[in-house]
Symmetry: C2
Subunit: 258 residues, 2 copies
C-alpha cells in the first residue's frame, strides 16, 4: 500500500527518511523547511517533490505528514500547519509526547520515531532502524505499521511514557558508550598510541554483550574486585579529575551490581 | 617457525591461547596449574600435552613459557618456576610491568598481552586479537613477533608504562561501555520493554564511532546542549541516585568536550 507523504523538516532524519520512503514506493509530495534552500537540498534528491517554506497544506494531496524537526520546533509546526481533511500528523522525536500534537488541525495524530543515530554523510539501511509507533487511533496505528513495514524496519508500539524510557536507555547505550570510546581515544592519543589496537576488543565486547547480555559479558578489574588495579587506574587518571571521577563512579556501579 | 611452548595457568586466556598456538603449528609441551584437574581440562583439548601442578621445568623441552594466571599470582609463578637454559618467560597481563619477572630464573623475559575479552564458552579468532609485546632483548622480541604473526594477530610493541595506559583505555572502551549497555538493559527491563529495539542503534553507533572517530560520531541531548531533555532524563532516573549521577557526570563531560 502506497501513501502520499509530506515531510516537515530538513535535518538528518528528514534527509534519510524521505529517501527511504520514496525508495519504498511512496510518493513524497512536499518537503517543508522554514529555509526554502534547506528544503530544496532534500527535494533535489527526490523524484518529483515540491520544496516549500509555507505551512499551508490545504491543497496538498498528502495523507501522512511527518514532522522531523528539532524537539523545540515541533509545537510551532504542529500549531501552525494547515492540513487537508482526514490527514495524519506524526512526529519523529524520542522525547516529545504525543500530546504535543493535540492543538494541530490534524484529524489523527501519532508518533513515528526512528530509534537510530543519523548522520547526513552516512548511508543507512532502514532494515537496521527500529521504529517506535504510537497513536490513539487504531486505523492510524495500522497505517504507521504499514509505513514501517514498507521500509522493512522492525517496529514496536510504545506509549509516550515508555518511549521516554527508551530514549534514556538509548542515551546510555549509544551516546554515552560513544563518549566512553572517545575517552579511550583521548587516553591513547595522549600517550601517542595507535587506537587501532583497541578496535578488535571493542567489536568483540559489544558483539558478546548483544549476544549474551551485558551482565554475562562483563569483565574487567571492577567485576573481579581487583582493587589494586582500580586504584592504579584511578591514580593514572589524576591528570583529569572528571575522568577519574567517571572511572570511580562506573567502577562503583559495576561493584554494586555484583 | 615452530616453537615448543609451555602454558602456566588454566583460566580463559590459557584456554584460548593454548588451542590457538597449537592450531598455528606450535607444540604445547606442558600446561601447569596449581590444581592438576584444571590443567587437565585444557590438555584434554590438546594433541599431546602434559598436565602438571609442579613448577620444575628443568627437563622441559619448551623454549617459551607463557604465564597466564591472575595478576596477583604472576610473581609467585615467576619466582617459583625452575626453567631450562636459554628459556623465555613472558606474562600475558595488561596491568603488570615487565619487572615483575626480573627475579625469575629465565634467561629472557617479555610480555605477550592479548588485548581481548575472553570467555571460555565463546570462540575467538586470534586474527581479531591485538597482541601487545615487550622485551628488553631484541632477539626475544623477534620471537614474540613471530609467535603473534603465527596466530595472524595484529601486534604492537608497547612499553610497560604505555601498556598500562592501554589497559585504562580498554576499561573505558570495553568494560564500561558493556556496563552502560547493561544500564540500558535494566531501564528497558524495568519498563517491560524489549531490548531488541535498541540493538540496531548500538551496532550503528559503535560502527560509526570506529569508522569516523567518537568526536565526529557523537550525537544526543548533551552534544546539542538540549538542557530540557537532560533535565527530564535526570528526573526520570531519580529512582536510582547513582544512575542519575552517572547520567549527569557523563553528560557534563560531553558538554565540556565541545
Amino acid at each position: 500500500m502506497k501513501f502520499d507523504i509530506a515531510i516537515l523538516g530538513s535535518g538528518n532524519v528528514a534527509w534519510h527518511l524521505s529517501a527511504a520512503l520514496e525508495t519504498a514506493g511512496h510518493e513524497i509530495t512536499e518537503v517543508y523547511s522554514r529555509n526554502l534552500d534547506h528544503a530544496k537540498r532534500i527535494t533535489g534528491r527526490l523524484y518529483a517533490t515540491e520544496a516549500t517554506d509555507e505551512l499551508d497544506f490545504s491543497e496538498s494531496k498528502a495523507r501522512v505528514f511527518i514532522i522531523a524537526v528539532a524537539d523545540q520546533a515541533i509545537a510551532d509546526v504542529a500549531d501552525g500547519i494547515i492540513l487537508p481533511e482526514n490527514s495524519i500528523l506524526v512526529h519523529t522525536s524520542g522525547s516529545m509526547p504525543l500530546e504535543i500534537l493535540e492543538y494541530s488541525s490534524a484529524s489523527y495524530t501519532g508518533i513515528f520515531y526512528p530509534l537510530q543515530t543519523f548522520s547526513k554523510n552516512r548511508d543507512l539501511d532502514f532494515a537496521d532502524v527500529s521504529i517506535l509507533l504510537e497513536s490513539e487511533d487504531q486505523e492510524t496505528l495500522k497505517i504507521l505499521k504499514k509505513l514501517a513495514a514498507s521500509l522493512t524496519s522492525p517496529y514496536y508500539t510504545v506509549k509516550s511514557k515508555d518511549r521516554k524510557a527508551v530514549h534514556v536507555a538509548a542515551v546510555f547505550a549509544s551516546n554515552f558508550t560513544n563518549h566512553l570510546i572517545g575517552i579511550a581515544e583521548a587516553i591513547m592519543n595522549r600517550q601517542g598510541l595507535d587506537m587501532e589496537m583497541l578496535k578488535p576488543l571493542i567489536i568483540e565486547q559489544i558483539s558478546k554483550c548483544l549476544q549474551i547480555g551485558a551482565r554475562a559479558a562483563q569483565t574487567g578489574p571492577a567485576l573481579r574486585e581487583d582493587f589494586p588495579t582500580l586504584e592504579a587506574h584511578h591514580q593514572f587518571l589524576t591528570y583529569n579529575e572528571q575522568l577519574a571521577e567517571i572511572y570511580r563512579l562506573i567502577s562503583q556501579d559495576i561493584l554494586d551490581a555484583n
